[in-house]
């Protein structure tokens, strides 16, 4: 049954996706910061691992966690060192910042697509690659995720 994909031992999950996730974090954050983010990502995954309900979309799940960690790192970076000094640029993702707190309620693939698209301005082709699907499927996942979030926001 599709719904019953067994969850592998954490070792296998880690061995399968750790290299790819590290490469992803290096592209986002640069080599130096990627290392701490990598550790944080997999510790978060380990903490959440026994609450997984199935073994589907573990790749998208790993990317979602890595994205959130990267977003946190960016946020910490963007805190101005001296508050008096006006920050040089506005956060380029105000719309995403408004819906982000809701994103955790989305199914894994939609969540990853929304985070990658609106949190990180990734192209649908890149998101498709990250999620192991086509660009079209990534576009659909992102847009149905956003529709779902808008409904939640209105509630």
């Amino acid at each position: 049954m599709m719904d019953d994909v067994a969850i592998p031992p954490f070792e296998r999950f880690y061995e399968t996706w750790s290299g790819e996730i590290l490469a992803f974090l290096r592209r986002r954050l640069g080599r130096a910061e990627a290392e701490d983010a990598f550790q944080e990502t997999f510790l978060k995954a380990l903490r959440a691992y026994d609450r997984l309900e199935h073994g589907r979309d573990l790749r998208a799940w790993a990317y979602t966690i890595a994205e959130r960690v990267a977003i946190d790192v960016h946020r910490r970076r963007s805190v101005p060192a001296t508050p008096e000094e006006p920050s040089g640029r506005e956060d380029s993702r105000p719309a995403y910042a408004e819906i982000e707190h809701l994103a955790g309620q989305l199914p894994a693939t939609e969540r990853a697509a929304v985070v990658l698209r609106y949190g990180y301005d990734r192209s649908y082709a890149q998101i498709g690659t990250a999620l192991g699907s086509s660009a079209d499927a990534a576009r659909q996942a992102a847009s149905s995720g956003v529709r779902r979030l808008r409904r939640k926001e209105l509630q």
């Binding site: 954490f10 296998r12 750790s18 290299g19 290392e35 997999f42 026994d50």
Partner: protein, 184 residues
Amino acid sequence: MTVPTDLDRRFRSAAAAAGLLDVAYDVVDSPLGPLFVAATPRGVCRISFDPEPEEEAEELARRFGLRVLRTALEGPRRELDEYFEGRRQAFDLDVDLTSAAPFNRRVLEELARVPYGETTTYGRLAERAERPRAARAVGMVMNRNPVPIVLPCHRVVGSTGKLVGYGGGLDRKERLLRLEGALL
């Protein structure tokens, strides 16, 4: 890409240090070949010869929980090294037998009392576990001993003194008994 060794090791030890693992395992070298060694927070739960770590990890995940990760097991590695160098006769390691059936656990607890350098028989071990007619069943428990070496099933021989059988192969049983001076 592969994760650099240093970063990989740091993650693995951080995971263990944070107490997030159901099972930690490692493969350690020994004169009997590489040994698969696994431990839960309660103690060593598995030692196997000729390890196939992926299959072992699957089995451990079924029995103890999914958070199974390879990471250095310093205590067990050190004690096993000392044992194989002839510098240790008794292990101070805790053993986790929670997944063993009650009869098996009883027999394995009796087995743990068989001293270094001595042998006993399946029948005598059955008597000590208060199941005097269960010598064959004791043989099965020895054959499936989850923690060989630390729980010394190599010290259990047939009633005639013949080595009879060993999960890791008779050759290894003989070498362990020679190491302990129980065989010349």
